[in-house]
Symmetry: C2
Subunit: 331 residues, 2 copies
Amino acid sequence: MKKVINKTNDVVTEMVDGVVAAYPHVIRRLPNTSAVVRTEAPIANKVGIVSGGGSGHEPAHAGYVGKGMLDAAVAGEVFTAPTPDQILEAMKAVDSGSGVFLIIKNYTGDIMNFEMAAELAEAEGIKADYIVVNDDVAVEDSSFTTGRRGIAGTVLVHKIIGALAENGAALEEIKRVAEKTVANVRSMGVALSPSIMPGSGKASFELDENEMEIGIGIHGEPGIERKQLATADELAEELTQHVLGDLSLQEGDNIAVMVNGLGATPEMELYIVNRKVQDILQKQGMEVVRTFVGDFMTSLEMAGCSVTILKLDDELTELLQSEASTPGFHV
Amino acid sequence: MKKVINKTNDVVTEMVDGVVAAYPHVIRRLPNTSAVVRTEAPIANKVGIVSGGGSGHEPAHAGYVGKGMLDAAVAGEVFTAPTPDQILEAMKAVDSGSGVFLIIKNYTGDIMNFEMAAELAEAEGIKADYIVVNDDVAVEDSSFTTGRRGIAGTVLVHKIIGALAENGAALEEIKRVAEKTVANVRSMGVALSPSIMPGSGKASFELDENEMEIGIGIHGEPGIERKQLATADELAEELTQHVLGDLSLQEGDNIAVMVNGLGATPEMELYIVNRKVQDILQKQGMEVVRTFVGDFMTSLEMAGCSVTILKLDDELTELLQSEASTPGFHV
């Protein structure tokens, strides 16, 4: 296991130190937690937006704290939900009295702990609500998940909801737009190689030299099919068609696209995939308003990628295009 | 060889298609070339800034075309210098009459081809000048290089010189600041695993399961020493001390820092390295004005990282901090 780390027990706390040390003008660490908050938080008359989840998905989630996206991100241990007490501390740190909205990826542990934190916050007089992102069209009821998993589409939810909160929207309005965004976003991924857990050194799964797994989860959860490694065009076709098949899109619809790297795939390859994705979308008459290519929701050193499509209306388009300035995402 | 590609001969042209398809509001492809130029180019009364080099270092160099950085980037085949005719086309496309400035990494092929392009451009009446970046302190006279190699520090040169050109500086002024920047920037890297050439499928070098190579080049050129895999803190210490040892810094000096991933190293690990780098710099009394952590100058799927330090004066600080908005870099 070749990793650039110190003690395996310290990877999360040292990572959080390293993120904060890189961007002290944007974020600070909440004392005695693995939560990162905007330096200005709490911001008056603004709903605080909080997300987080297991570590190993960097730049998610700490990288999305900043103007126009999150007010706080809470990091759990690698591939493990953050604890309710830490989520609660983050909620308290970003609440200005306007309430706090949680963006949760659909994993059983995350939902349990974020929901518990929301209840604890409400008991302390903080208005709280949340959305669960479940954009992965690959499988229902995977390991760790009832229903569909939340993957890279979550970053676009951060973007849209972050922009809305920055505009001063109230909690109810944020909930409405969050539900619409989640209803409109779909993703699917493929893996060529596994991620390796820093503690055990174990691979999240095994693949033969010429195999790939379609529909993989970001913790290495099983996908739809394991088969011979395909070309970039074939992969792009398969992922994009699966995603399109689950969205009711019509010619001329506006969409946003994300081609996300899972950690170890060169950006060159992501662009080669994007070429074909855009070709398919153009042929179907889609209007691509904005494309994002890069490592946004990773799985440690997993090789592979995912394709995300977000159907846009005028409201979502405006929110997507407005300024965001965080360590890991810029518009 | 697991790569998400189509035909190996097409990787560069398809990558360029994919980059342009992702960011049509920022860049366009120069017809019949692998060069990418800003959509607005040529920009009146502005010196055109052109860089480029072999492909496989993405987001370098196409990802740095945009406001406040490059006007054009020319992509060669993987790890191969772009041809003079393509560089010339890029120079012609960005020249507004104010001239063109080339930022070249110190590799024999790049220097030969960029210099030839500059001569051809001058023969066509375009004012041209250039700088050679040689920030890698690891070795002198490596494969492909006489003197020191140009690596991740090149991105900070793009940033500084791009900002200066955006301000309307003349070619002579750009040359002066470029020379100062190159004199002030130093880097060194380490690899844990090699890059794999898309054509041959060959690894750029071989390392045992517990080995790393200190001072590696971004094409897998030999470094200083091959030894047992160290901890993140030990690696950070070794790279940072080598870099600091080659810069004449004094307590209280302002610097910029880049912790650059070589392609396959999880961002988590880059942040763990950054934690220690910042700790060392703080103990030495350095004032870190700005830090950049991420994959900026990669080597396909090589695992590893590099540390870059740029010594700043007031002029360089202002240029570093001014707005840049490109697909791969934002300030």
